[in-house]
Symmetry: none
């Protein structure tokens, strides 16, 4: 039988709705991948009794509990106390090793350890500390009524590596002992395809009783299909066949699988050709650059860019002709093209992408409503370095941040398609296409 | 006593981590605003028994339960069945009114009602349907052991209007009957202060029995104090007094309240002085620009910037002297200063901020390990436009994305402090300070 798990998230900021709870979803996904089914996620406040009650309720009914949060140095961090109570009211003891690790962490930064951090060296008698390579809060593992209980720090960048190092092997062992097999999971990502059309294109695969089971989710300009294959289907090639079928159905829109981002896919395209990219952003204000440089190794194909937020900057620093902005406006095909050409030329890159538009909340007009964005692409067309350029108009829905993220993602997809010679593919929210102009 | 509530989210896609659960946070926020405290959020799959068990666990222990999801037309939508079981195993009956409403909704679209949708007209005996103006799934309200239980549809655009129409008046009535008053909530944000020290500075306020109650959370280089005042303390000025006390204790580190970001605070500082800012980013790759331009109206004080990701770009486009990079390295005090001076000068801005460092995962050395970042600040020191400049070295913890976000946030705080004449304040992760140099 498939092992069962529960996830407990701890923090007043979560029960009060002041912060989004994001660890639970990630943990569920990871456990499912390892072959463990999460049957319940629970969130409680920084309350010793509520923590203890939840841990007691889970112990015995599931095989594995993963709790996050409440391991900080302050008096409202009560996971240690809650666990001790759930373990039958055992005492909290200072671990000399954990204390030394916390002190070392502060020493490394040239600071003395504040006395309050000593709380983080406490551990219920009979439980063990888990080393935290990314913060001061050690994790804790214990067994409550035959259920393995992992208490991990709340910040995702501390929790995730500890989860991978400690919980995944433990989950894998549980699955091996149970005789169940891990399901096969694969996600296909596309950009510029409406979710309804994306679902229609793979309709025959989306039956809820099918195995592998396929579901779609959409976020901004991205749409993803998540494939989950259980039992034999996880191991007989069905997963890969389904993945290929979806990629075939989505064609040029599909750019990668699993953890691949659109910036990553664009980077691979450029790197395989030994070419480079520059950018000139206006309404996206650095977001395109941020997406690009979040890819490790992007310095191999990304030269740099301009955040040309003001008209003056577009002219004086990027070198866009003042007359172009004056006669056509900052949000226009001509300005988008001029920005792209200037970026490629000045940065001496094979390719460039530009974005100029109106993200709101103000600045919209009848002809150029909020959400109007021009994306320009320039590329060297021959050895002598001549540059070809085109721009496309988009009208993105949503509010400021949605418009910005949709524009940035779409710009990267348009650049990728242009480099692959498929700039004719029509993307979601696209209003018009323009003829290729040469300068 | 403040009425207490629990939130139950239902769906296999949630326990499997295929979809993010977003209703719970929204509902918690809304209930808290009405004066009802959410003490637990729980997510279970499409499982009749799990739903019934959760509803039984909540009934009696809280005053109000809001459940979402599982009201669709398919056989894995089991909230109706789970509620009937929690009510003591009552029968499900077809509501003629609900059936007529669902049929009317399909007729409106010119479609016959699929037989499966008839399931949505089912209601446990003794419970009542709630009209859904935005979809086919009616909500259900019932009383289980004196606890009011609301079952609402899962899609947010159907759930939210029903919540506002049905649950909010009911919550308000509960609060009125209890004699409690809506709590007052306020959050104070600071940057560059370690969480443990931040907590120590306000220790007297952090007693868990105190009212207002204060808790801290940390994220990257930010630390926040959440103040929650209930009963009389919500209305007698205690909330504001506590907020001011925290701001006083945190001094220059504190930059704003509630939804104020560090970019927002920096922008207000600049706008109030009629001054402008330019940026030159290397390791942050656009993130500083993105944080700045996420503030609506930032075009009023942000001129633009350079994402100088390669050494070539730093020289050819930003105009940093090739000799400086060659002799001191791209990650150095001298390069950070030269980048800042070039940005302020070229963009004709009063102020500028630069960041150059090693975000990893590779590129670290013994002397400049991963996480090493130099942040430079340049500013006009007199009317003739002469520029003063300084840089500070930081060593940020975490992985690539953490290092980048910490560097970007810290750069904005350092700029804000410099403009306020408080550049001497030592910030979290700071390694050395350098003397102010003039160019």
């Amino acid at each position: 039988m498939t092992p069962r798990a529960a996830v407990l998230s701890i923090g007043d900021e979560l029960t009060r709705g002041q912060c989004a709870e994001t660890n639970g979803r990630w943990i569920s996904e990871q456990l499912l991948e390892a072959g463990v089914m999460v049957v319940e996620l629970r969130t409680v406040g920084d309350d010793r009794e509520a923590i203890a009650k939840a841990l007691r309720a889970f112990s015995g009914s599931v095989d594995l509990v993963v709790a996050t949060g409440g391991l900080g140095p302050t008096h409202d961090d009560l996971t240690r106390e809650g666990l001790a109570e759930a373990m039958g009211g055992v005492a909290l003891e200072v671990s000399a090793k954990a204390r030394a690790a916390i002190e070392a962490r502060f020493a490394q930064r040239g600071q003395p350890m504040p006395p309050s951090n000593l709380r983080q060296a406490l551990c219920p008698a009979g439980a063990q500390h888990l080393e935290n390579a990314h913060g001061t809060a050690p994790g804790i593992v214990s067994v409550v009524h035959r259920t393995q209980v992992y208490c991990l720090p709340g910040p995702p960048h501390e929790m995730r590596p500890m989860f991978v190092r400690e919980v995944v092997p433990s989950a894998t062992a549980l699955v091996a002992c149970s005789g169940a097999r891990a399901p096969g999971i694969c996600t296909i990502h596309a950009c510029g395809l409406p979710e309804s059309l994306a679902a229609e294109l793979i309709q025959p695969l989306m039956n809820r009783k099918a195995n592998p089971m396929v579901g779609t989710t959409a976020s901004g300009a991205l749409v993803s299909a998540r494939i989950c294959a259980v039992a034999d289907a996880a191991h007989d090639g069905s997963l890969e066949r389904t993945a290929c079928e979806i990629e075939r159905a989505w064609g040029d829109y599909a750019f990668g699988r699993d953890s691949t981002t659109i910036a990553h896919a664009l980077g691979e395209t450029l790197a395989s050709r030994g070419e480079s990219l520059a950018i000139a952003e206006s309404c996206t204000g650095g977001l395109i650059g941020q997406l690009i440089t979040s890819v490790p190794g992007s310095s191999g194909w990304f030269t740099g860019g301009w955040i040309s937020y003001s008209d003056d900057f577009k002219q004086s620093s990027l070198g866009v002709d003042r007359e172009i902005v004056r006669s056509h406006g900052a949000v226009s095909e001509q300005t988008a093209c001029a920005m792209a050409v200037a970026a490629a030329t000045r940065a001496n890159a094979q390719w460039s992408v530009s974005a100029t538009g109106i993200a709101g909340p103000t600045g919209g007009t009848l002809n150029k409503p909020i959400g109007t964005v021009w994306i320009g692409i320039a590329g060297r067309v021959n050895r002598s370095g001549e540059v070809g350029v085109f721009a496309r108009q988009f009208r993105f829905g949503g509010e400021r941040e949605q418009i910005r993220i949709r524009a940035a993602t779409t710009a990267l997809q348009l650049a990728r398609l242009a480099i692959l010679g498929r700039a004719d593919v029509r993307l979601l929210s696209q209003v018009t296409s323009s003829a290729t102009a040469s300068t």
